[in-house]
Symmetry: C2
Subunit: 459 residues, 2 copies
């Protein structure tokens, strides 16, 4: 009986032990899908893709084979079983190919198959979200998505962080109420029917995470979060995954050290584990991607306070740089164009911007001794703007109570400061945006599996 | 400046290099919370817990210290900073302790702190869900939760499975409509407002996962799923995490091999990484737990068809075993008492029960050649009943179409069989139930962070 192999197992054997170990395998069996099938004269070439690796495997069969005609009719997209011997093939994309003895159709492709050989647009493929993982670009996107996810887990687990599953359905109304999805039962109104109070989908696991940081010291969440925003931009979706670490006995400085280490660790894992995918993105999606990622790996992230940033922007305006939002003043919310100027032109790389005016930041951020700013940080990166947002949390129960104002049912959150509270800090990474940054993909709809935005719920 | 250490870093150094390496550290600083503080005569003992390890660290301070009185007043739950030298201490729980030179209060504990030294009941602690991770049992539960989660990821990643984030908000109505949560916006009715069609919270990522298995061969999900069930049992919650792998070119036999390997891998990781926690559960929560887990690791899971199981149950009734559900017949849905009899009395260990009547299983399961049963499997385990459910999927588009019946908007799912379909199989593990099995905890509310059940949404 011949050994069952995959494109990945062959590739990995080749990389570790060279061509001879492949030739020694004898007859092998492999399952997968037809990418191309080109009979020409006495010889035919079939490109098999099995989803285990970005690369395909070349199968070769000849007119001698009694089933040649049947084989030659196998269509793009069909699932097949192939048996044959591995031979050296310096001319193929890979240095080996399979000389087929038997090729069996498992599942045929109906004539209305929407994917065709010519390159489909991303817009078209979005409409075929259940089939697009078969396309080259999306093979790369979703594999990097998986590798990047696991890298995030590995980073935190290796550092002893406890992974917590903060709830998706929540009764907190901690981050502004306008953009929440409510949760209802059986088409019934009011929404308090099932839980006895209004329930909605979480916008952040942070507050729940803080309770666990004050028991485990270092924790992280990695799960879905939601916004009922109708904004139809390439960077917004109604459902997206967030990573939210929280660390007790940690200040803003410690927070930034973890952010920087985390991003470098994750990018390093992707560039080493997904060489072919990153090559592909660099070549076809975002020229210069590889250089950009290498630069991040070998840089020290720059630091600047908000107050310094305002000065830099004022200088820029004096020097004739024109922003769409011309008026620069202390206390303003920085726009994307300002953020990009700061990291692209001033820092020329990732930039931690810290100590924002308290009025433009969330209630839970720790007030600095100046009474005007909070210990907040945004990480700005060239080409994207904000990639990570974090802060030290307000641990003074009196100050926090004042800032919480009208928030209901949040005594427990306040109590965390009254029962053995301590300086603690955390941050949030929008996982889908990080994936866009790492792949160079320009639309969040093209890095998620089945993106959810307003009026988009086909699958 | 003294080195900042954690209970885990000390413990791990001790295990790897012995006591001398600890003594060589000189003065260290450690942050954490007071578990107990017992001044007596000239000497005082403070048990510090920092959340990085199940164990605490003993701090010793003496009346010589000018701050003795202040130290002696530190209360249970207070957060502190301690500095001192590590010394050998054969009498303590750990073979070393810290001789304190300075002890500093960081965050005090208000007098209404609900956690007290005497053991609180699980019922009481459920009401204090934001504080219970500080209690011994829940330190153990949530650390195992984290280690078990990561073990699941490691198992699949090491085998080349691609991790996919299937959507939480979905428009599919594939698994029976009665128990769904709807998603609404801004308190508005009808629920079609935001997405243009009715949206609800997913009950399973399987169907979306199948689309990705047919592109990547092997994939897995690991994310939250939902049921709007009002059943108030120790095993049901409205929100819980599921693991759902899906494998192309795989039949029921391959499916079962992965289930068995996955569970053994995950349990092995937990028993080796969480020794103290499993000891604790074995001693205080579920006597015999360690033996049970070791037995699973060293067993070959048994196999039995549903038809054989019915015969065994009929024999049992003849032999005088009395079930609450007395009538045993082919075609019946097995009840928990039957499942437990089969694995506890007949198999005496984990049991794969296969090939159920098609009428009692889901539409997407592959019909067997007998026309009466489907290629389904449930894994039954002693003490719990069903732990995993899986099946080979129906890959014949005509048969599937017939079984799908009235389901709307599911053409894409059917098309997966028309566009290069192939035999594929998968399974689902309820992660919270797996955690109950591994820890011996008896109520799902005590293994989740902030459990959601009807009328329970306090945090």
């Amino acid at each position: 009986m011949s050994e069952v192999v995959t494109v990945r197992s062959l590739h990995s054997l080749y990389e570790k032990k060279g061509i001879d170990s492949l030739l020694a395998l004898g007859e092998v069996t492999i399952f997968g899908w037809v990418r191309t099938n080109r009979p020409s004269g006495q010889l035919a070439f079939l490109e098999l893709h099995d989803g285990t690796h970005f690369l395909s495997l070349q199968l070769v069969y000849t007119k001698d084979n009694p089933d040649f005609e049947k084989m030659a009719h196998l269509k793009m997209g069909a699932s097949i079983k192939a048996t044959g011997k591995i031979v050296a093939s310096p001319s193929a994309k890979q240095p080996y190919e399979v000389q087929v003895s038997a090729l069996e159709l498992i599942g045929d492709v109906a004539d209305d198959y929407p994917l065709q050989k010519k390159r489909s647009t991303f817009e078209f493929l979005r409409e075929q979200a259940y089939l697009r993982p078969r396309a080259n670009t999306f093979q790369a996107v979703y594999r990097v998505r998986s590798v990047l996810s696991y890298a995030i887990h590995s980073f935190f687990q290796e550092r002893g962080f406890v992974y917590v599953h903060t709830p998706i359905i929540t009764g907190n109304d901690a981050e502004g109420a306008g953009q929440l999805f409510q949760v209802a039962t059986n088409g019934e109104h009011p929404f308090t029917d099932f839980f006895g109070k209004e329930a909605h989908l979480t916008v952040s696991g942070q507050l729940h995470g803080e309770a666990f940081a004050l028991a485990f010291k270092d924790i992280y969440t990695f799960g879905p979060t939601f916004r009922a925003e109708r904004s139809n931009t390439p960077r917004h979706a109604s459902e997206f995954w967030m990573i939210e670490p929280e660390m007790a006995f940690c200040d803003l400085k410690g927070d930034m050290e973890v952010i920087e280490a985390c991003l470098k660790y994750a990018i390093e894992k992707v560039v080493t584990s997904c060489k072919e995918e990153i090559d592909f993105f660099d070549r076809f999606i975002a020229n210069g991607l590889k250089d950009k990622l290498q630069a991040v790996l070998h840089s020290s992230f720059a630091h600047m306070t908000y107050t310094e940033a305002i000065k830099k922007l004022e200088e820029a305006v004096k020097e004739g740089i024109s922003f769409e939002n011309k008026k620069i003043y202390w206390g303003m919310d920085l726009q994307s164009e300002h953020e990009r100027y700061l990291c692209e032109k001033i820092a020329k790389g990732p930039l931690f911007l810290t100590d924002y005016p308290k009025e433009i930041k969330a209630f839970y951020m720790k007030e600095n001794p100046d009474g005007k700013t909070v210990a907040a940080v945004d990480l700005l990166v060239p080409g994207e703007g904000e990639l990570v947002g974090g802060s030290q949390r307000e641990d003074d129960p009196l100050k926090l109570k004042e800032k919480m104002g009208q928030l209901k049912d949040m005594d427990w959150y306040l109590n965390l400061r009254r029962y053995g509270g301590c300086p603690h800090a955390g941050f949030g990474i929008g996982f889908d945006r990080l994936l866009m940054y790492v792949t160079g993909m320009q639309n969040i709809r093209d890095v998620q599996l089945f993106p959810r935005t307003s009026n988009a719920l086909k699958y």
